[in-house]
């Protein structure tokens, strides 16, 4: 007895963490999970093992699961248009199966 929901993954600079989290919650998500990472993209290389003298630029991945697809689209749209001109980052969506529909 599972339901379908959309998982949004946002990879961006740690600097933006608080603002994005707030934006996500205001857009109606009931929760999110954050992981630290490193990576490479079109902007310069982010490193992990060295002391990051500038820790605020290191990367995080924020995962948000929402049951409502339209809510998901709205969040993705909002984030892509607000952040990815100036800051490094990507956003993508996946379909997941959840148990407790009311939690998402």
């Amino acid at each position: 007895m599972t339901h379908h929901a959309t998982k949004i993954s946002i990879i961006t600079e740690k600097l933006n963490e608080q603002q994005i989290e707030q934006m996500v919650v205001e857009a109606g998500a009931k929760g999110y999970t954050v992981f630290e990472g490193s990576g490479r993209g079109s902007h310069s290389l982010k490193t992990r093992s060295r002391p990051s003298v500038v820790d605020a630029f290191s990367l995080i991945k924020i995962e948000v699961i929402v049951a409502d697809r339209e809510k998901a689209d709205a969040i993705v749209e909002k984030i892509a248009s607000t952040y990815f001109k100036d800051y490094s980052g990507i956003v993508y969506m996946e379909t997941v199966e959840i148990l407790r529909l009311e939690k998402f």
Binding site: E13, S44, R50, P51, V53, V54, D55, A56, F57, Y87
Partner: protein, 334 residues
């Protein structure tokens, strides 16, 4: 000529000092591809320890200070912070090969202050037996915040001109944001604790004795970091390298001159003048970058971090400190 030969001998003797040896050592092992690294948690802790030591030390001794004496140097610091950014705005940032925002952000970083360079200079003055007023390290925030705030304002004025009327820059949050950074917080917290309580015991048996040793490790980290950032620098215009080599000299000499004025007017100590020059010549390597990233999001961090971390910091430690020390010894006949 005499100045020049003095300078050479000061350089030679500074090369013997562990701070510089660790800095160069870090660059060398990074260049050789060594896997040696200091864990990030340790690096952040060391920065905390150094700034807390500097803050406590200043706070403890400042109790007896005459606040009138502080006024002129504090104003000078404010002025220098602003002047550095304006100089950068109308030189580096005005070059056609340099994006204006990137140039302004870089000037902001060079106007701001490096805690590690400050700490290294304090150790050198100490070893040379040159005293300075206990509150000199407390000039740091004046110059630092002035530079960061002005850079953010100028960048926003520039964006305003480009994109037509946009929202006004709110100064309050920029001030608050730079004060809240971990470096200034630690320094100011130490200052206040030193002022209002009696942390002499813990200062003398813990923070102070660990100062030079922890600084040696920080120098190693900065050396490794400098080498690793060289790559980033290659991607931006050569002007950044030239700026990073020349500007600190200009800033330091300007500060030295103004400090000397304060020496004549209010008796600002020779050590204080030297330290002021070092602070001015230094560039922020810890708390400046995130403040600028948040305040000038359109500026490319590779430009300003590359030039400051890979060139500015090593130069201001390896060249700047001996230079202003020799100048001071020469001018004040120390």
């Amino acid at each position: 000529m005499e100045l020049f030969s003095d300078l050479l001998s000061t350089f030679a003797s500074q090369l013997q000092k562990p701070a510089l040896a660790f800095l160069l050592g870090g660059m060398v092992i990074a260049a050789l591809g060594s896997k040696l690294s200091i864990p990030d948690a340790i690096y952040r802790f060391i920065v905390f320890m150094l700034l807390m030591r500097i803050g406590l030390g200043a706070g403890i001794e400042i109790r007896a200070a005459n606040f009138g004496d502080v006024l002129l140097p504090a104003l000078i610091s404010l002025f220098i912070g602003c002047a550095i950014v304006l100089i950068g705005r109308f030189t580096l940032a005005a070059l056609p090969q340099v994006r204006t925002e990137d140039g302004i952000a870089t000037a902001g970083l060079f106007g701001a202050v490096s805690a590690s360079t400050l700490a290294a200079a304090m150790v050198v003055l100490d070893e040379e037996g040159i005293g300075f007023e206990a509150w000199v390290p407390a000039l740091y925030p004046f110059m630092d915040i002035a530079a960061l705030v002005l850079a953010i304002v100028l960048a926003s004025v520039h964006a305003h001109k480009q994109n037509g009327p946009s929202a006004k820059v709110a100064l309050g949050p920029i001030f608050a944001n730079s004060l809240r950074g971990s470096a200034l917080s630690a320094l100011l917290l130490g200052l206040v604790i030193g002022l209002v309580s009696r942390p002499e015991g813990v200062f003398e048996e813990f923070y102070d004795p660990l100062f030079r040793g922890l600084l040696s490790i920080l120098m190693l980290v900065l050396g490794i970091e400098a080498w690793s950032r060289l790559d980033e620098l290659r991607k931006v215009a050569h002007w950044y390298v030239i700026y990073a080599l020349v500007a600190p000299l200009v800033h330091g000499l300007l500060a030295f001159a103004l400090g000397y004025m304060a020496h004549l007017v209010t008796g600002f100590s020779p050590g204080g003048v030297i330290l002021l020059a070092v602070i001015a010549a230094s560039n922020s390597d810890i708390s400046g970058p995130p403040t600028l990233r948040a305040g000038i999001p359109s500026a490319n961090p590779s430009a300003y971090i590359g030039s400051s971390t890979a060139v500015g910091t090593p130069i201001s430690i390896a060249v700047g400190i001996p230079l202003y020390l020799t100048l001071g010894q020469w001018v004040f006949g120390l």
